[in-house]
């Protein structure tokens, strides 16, 4: 249960994770707010399913004590590389930003249960904001060679800071940017636009990540169109595997613990 709706644990399977020490291939600015870090890992690039994440951090004595959870933004099994895109918000992400080519990273992944697009689905709507978009780009990667139509509403402060536009377009998605700068990201405006566009021919699945208000909207639209709605959520984590119990998705029912984001998520079914 979150403010945005009821979460259901999905029974999706997961791929076997690995822990590796890998080297940074690229770590560069994407915009004034975000950076892209590419690391080499044949195993993770091959195994990562859409919507999975890694736990990662610099190695060494003065490195942060905890690894940070980061969505797999894109993976390229042929090149054996994985990209993550991150905002620099605090101590851990500042330490990531300071890494340069060749530096060693400790990475564990791929982790969690990702997005599953069901058999027979023809239209998928992605609704994401900020770094939340990074949890959904791999869905578009997987759907690129299929006939499934992907529409992505990408929300951000301004046009430059909207993540994922290029990747999604390259994957053949129809991209709608909405921004705070021109007012188009207001939830009512997004709702109106989507209702107009999809009421006659709605998507069978809606995926969302990165904003509580957009999650609420996705849940509402899911109910309106009878579309299966999935959300990727965040929680503070230590292990990423399910044994530290740091990442419960809420406060439980008083007797049993709430689901764990790293083990039971990060992708959950969403209902109003």
């Amino acid at each position: 249960m979150t403010a945005a709706g009821v979460l259901d644990v999905l029974a999706g399977d997961r791929s076997r994770p690995r822990c590796e020490q890998v080297s940074v291939v690229v770590n560069r600015e994407l915009s004034d707010r975000y950076r892209l870090l590419r690391f080499r890992s044949a195993a993770i690039s091959e195994r990562a399913r859409a919507g999975q994440f890694v736990m990662l951090g610099p190695l060494g004595r003065s490195a942060p004590v905890l690894p940070r959870p980061m969505a797999i933004y894109t993976r390229d099994a042929d090149a054996g590389v994985v990209d993550i895109v991150y905002g620099v918000v605090g101590y851990g992400t500042r330490a990531l930003a300071e890494m340069t080519e060749g530096d060693l990273l400790a990475v564990t992944g791929p982790l969690g249960r990702g997005f599953v697009i069901e058999e027979g689905v023809e239209r998928v709507l992605l609704v994401g904001r900020g770094v939340g978009i990074c949890a959904m780009t791999t869905v578009a990667q997987d759907l690129a060679p299929t006939s499934v139509q992907v529409t992505a509403v990408l929300s951000g402060r301004n046009r430059e800071s909207v993540l994922g536009q290029d990747v999604l377009r390259d994957c053949g998605a129809d991209v709608l940017n909405v921004t705070d700068a021109n007012g188009s990201s207001a939830v009512d405006a997004v709702r109106e636009r989507l209702v107009r566009r999809f009421d006659d021919d709605p998507p069978q699945q809606i995926l969302t990540s990165g904003s509580e208000r957009l999650t609420r909207l996705a849940a509402d639209l899911g109910a309106r169109w009878n579309a299966r709605t999935l959300v990727s959520v965040e929680a503070h984590m230590a292990c990423g595997l399910g044994y530290c119990h740091g990442c419960a998705v809420g406060n439980g029912d008083g007797a049993t613990e709430a689901p764990l984001v790293c083990r039971d998520g990060p992708v959950f079914g969403l209902r109003v």
Binding site: P17, C19, H236, H245, T256, E257
Partner: protein
Amino acid sequence: MELGDLELANPVMPASGCFGPELAELTPVDTLGAVVTKTVFAQSRPGNRTHRITEVPGGMLNSVGIPSRGTTVFRDSGLGGYAGLGAPVVISIGGLSAQEYWQVVDELGACEHAAVEVNVSCPNLEHGGATLDTDLDAMTHVVSGVVARSTKPVLVKLSPQLHGMAAAARAAQDAGATAVTVCNSFPAMAVNANSRASELGNGTGGLSGPSVKPLALRLVWTAAQAVDIPVVGCGGIGSADDVAEFLIAGATAVQVGTATFAQPDVMPRIIGELPALTERLGAERIADLIGTLTIRSEDWQ
């Protein structure tokens, strides 16, 4: 290495709550001296409010609050997946009253385990919510009851008592403990000035990781001088050198907690490095390091 009847192939085991069977997918956990479970309670418990984890300089805070599915579910699920990992299983037990601790031991019964570790850092509801080992009579009562009920070695995991460690370790020994584990995480908090709120949903939490190592070393040293039973050192260990420091200060074995989060394979790595380290330190066997600390005394030149 021996802790009573518990024989360890090497001195390295995980700290309770910082390990799980999930790690077997990533690293050879059968190389560990033992595995230690997350603390098990008699009844199901939800754990604390979120956020439960944050990082602070040189360490982390947790207020997970020990969620548990209860002893019978744990026992009947192959010890929550710990059975069959190929290392002796130490079951950490907790309770809010003496009866609750004893109920866990009774319900575990003869299920396959090598030892129990009594987590006495739980709030004791019979004594106004203070941790059990701040009231040595209450701790003695609980531990002697566990010793009477269990056929296995009983480790007592003490909380970081900055002043009363010697007395607490002695009380555990007198109550029949096989060994003491020193120590649990340090009560602490983190404040966000912008929101004027605590970082953790529980307000306070336990500090662990590199920054507690000097504190834990001193407590291990204090405990080792106070008792004849073995001391298991715990607090900020993340390398083979750290292990050596704890053994020299008086520990017979060690537990690794927080370090596993960033490097899931840190314990097998450390174990692999122990032979070379032993040789570098001029010892024949790693056990020869135990309690060899001298206090530096240099004359002014």
